[in-house]
Amino acid sequence: MTDARSEQSPEAAGQPSQGVRLPDVSRRGFLKGVVGAGAAAAIGSYEVFGVGAEAVAAQDAGSEAPGPASGPTEALSSGDGQVDTLERMRIELLAALQKPAADRRWVMVLDLRRCVGCHACTISCIAENNLPPGVVYRPVIEEEFGTYPNVGRRFTPRPCMQCDKPPCVPVCPTSATYTNDEGVVVVDYDDCIGCRACLTACPYGARTADFGLTYNESNPGTDDRVVGRQTAGQYEMLPMFEYGEPRSREDGESPIGNARKCHFCLHRVKEGELPACVTSCIGRATLFGDANDPSSLVAEMIALPNVFRLKEELGTEPRVFYLS
């Protein structure tokens, strides 16, 4: 897992230099990470993708109001003062939450060179939101390109683009889908009539419909066994907490019959937690934060010259950025 970028200058790799607080991936750091694998592996290899603790501390100190009671604002750091990217983003998230919602601008950055195509983000999203069969918020598109021997593979996670000018919003006949104060396109499950006009309007295929399917409905029943319909089926009937409201599939009500989509895990963000796809990304390829904070990691990333957005020519102004 040698990172090619460690062999070239940051500028050449399309990343900011050390002074701009980019995750510093060096061979030394990598080796130290391997040595300290016992602890680091458990919490995500702080060393390998660490950032300067001073910068995080400064970020923390810059936030006058305390963070939500549920989360500490001190950065977790390792012995040599390196702080994991996740920690930095978490601290920045807590700082952003102190601002009025309208002053925040959540964006997601996907570094395609770091994505290894493990699909952990897809799965963690499904687990987090208890998604039923046929509903997916964040598939990872796999592509192979080139001609032998010069071939390559690219993995492109595709969450909802949270467009600033979302085509899916004006077509909704009941205003059930709209852009919230924080710029995230959300769905009011109780207002959605399930016409799927928003699915047609989305140029990214980022919305899916919930047709009421369940994983275990055709499974044989076996009492007290984890594989049986009665027992295993209970898991998918547990409520999910999208938009901060518990909803169970047991009663057949919404979100069954609704359009569904990625919402940047707003229910987690509200509690000071990063979206599930961000925390589960083993390569730290998924970054999240407030782009209105000029010192945030995502603000730095989206200013890089190698940043791009999908179907930019449509003018939808996505809030999901890719680094190539």
Binding site: P139, I141, P170, T174, I193, A201, G205, T208, A209
Partner: protein, 386 residues
């Protein structure tokens, strides 16, 4: 004349029987949709609109087109069409609910349709259409009542309003698709321009079927009427052929990959048999040839069958607008990124979808037949059919 009347009685019986059989076949689909929801349908999240949406477009077009034809009698007072307005108006009244039932069953939450009335997003074309269809249907009902009461002046006023609405809903459906900039073949100003004409073709075709199968006017006028309706369809089918040509030739010449992919799917892909076999051959060329031939007007049943072929062609045309575009992935590789039966770009309507469509067709036909037999508006039918 006796032979004529006997033949019409026979046709009516056959149509009643077919309508009832269709309703019986539809019970399975209705039951499935109402009991288990959308579990047994084949549309999904990528091909998210299927047979029901396509047929909603068709039936709504039929309703609008029938109203346009009714205006020839009730508004423009064209002598040749005298006495036919009621048949066309009744066609509007029974086909529009068919369209709305189909689109209603397609909704994930049809129980919330009231929200479109009470909390509409006025910028949404879908909301505008729901409102417009509702008003249009009410206007058609008022026109029916005024026609029964022979209130000529008010009927003309209402017909003007209805005619404007019929054009609006026709163009509106085209715009409903056309506003989707991400869907290359939808996103064209051609659709709102084409739909009113295609809907007029539907209205003329259903009128041809009605005149061909039933004695709605005197025999001598009937031949002339069928000739005029037939030639109108020749013109409209020629226009439709031109539309098809410009639609596909422009796309193919442009060589824009996404757009070409849609055209390829229609012309040479999984739906090509429906395009060439049903839409072009059966729905366009055969009726075009039949209506050009003067002898068809003297054979009412043949003219009626040709009218049905035109309707089949128009219905298949609606499916050719909906499915193929949605069968092209928004992003390359999306189809394989996360696989599930509802996340595929291939679509074939399920048994439930066909069953519901057949049932709706049966209900609509039965309502039409009962109306023609029972409504006071049609009491003078036997006089007209002398």
């Amino acid at each position: 004349m006796t032979e004529n009347i006997t033949r019409h009685v026979d046709i009516r019986r056959i149509l009643y029987a077919l309508a009832i059989i269709a309703i019986v076949l539809g019970i399975f689909g209705f039951a499935s949709r109402l009991i288990v929801g959308e579990r047994d349908v084949n549309y999904g999240s990528y091909v998210n609109w299927g047979l029901w949406v396509a047929m909603y477009l068709f039936f709504a077009g039929l309703a609008a087109g029938s109203f346009m034809v009714a205006s020839l009698d009730y508004l423009f007072k064209v002598d040749l069409f005298k006495g036919t307005g009621r048949y066309a108006l009744w066609a509007t009244i029974v086909t529009l609910p068919a369209a709305l039932v189909l689109i209603g069953l397609d909704l994930g939450h049809w129980d919330r349709i009231w929200k479109v009335y009470l909390q509409p997003n006025v910028s949404s074309l879908l909301a505008q259409l729901v409102w417009s269809y509702t008003i249009f249907w009410v206007v058609a009902m008022i026109a029916l009542v005024l026609a029964i009461r022979k209130s000529d002046l008010w009927l003309r006023v209402v017909m003007v309003i209805g005619l404007v609405l019929s054009l609006f809903v026709s163009g509106g459906v085209g715009a409903l698709l056309g506003v989707n900039a991400g869907q290359t073949s939808f996103h064209t100003a051609m659709l709102p321009a084409q739909f009113p004409l295609l809907n007029l073709a539907s209205g003329v075709a259903i009128m041809t079927v009605i005149v061909g199968f039933f004695s709605v006017v005197e025999p001598e006028r009937r031949t002339r009427l069928l000739r005029v309706l037939g030639l109108s369809l020749v013109v409209l089918l020629t226009v439709k052929a031109y539309f098809l040509w410009v639609d596909y030739s422009q796309v193919l010449y442009s060589s824009v990959p996404d757009a070409v992919a849609v055209a390829d799917t229609i012309l040479f892909g999984q739906y090509s048999w429906a395009f060439w076999g049903l839409q072009v051959l059966l729905g366009l060329i055969v009726p075009w040839v039949l209506f050009i031939w003067p002898g068809t007007a003297q054979r009412p049943i043949l003219a009626g069958v040709a009218g049905i072929l035109v309707l089949v062609g128009l219905a298949v045309g609606r499916t050719a607008i909906i499915f193929p575009q949605l069968s092209v992935p928004d992003l390359e590789g999306l189809a394989e990124a996360f696989t599930h039966v509802r996340l595929t770009f291939e679509y074939t309507p399920s048994l439930v979808e066909w069953s519901v469509l057949i049932g709706v067709l049966g209900l609509s036909a039965l309502a039409y037949l009962i109306g023609v037999d029972r409504l006071p508006l049609f009491k003078s039918r036997s006089e007209a059919a002398a």
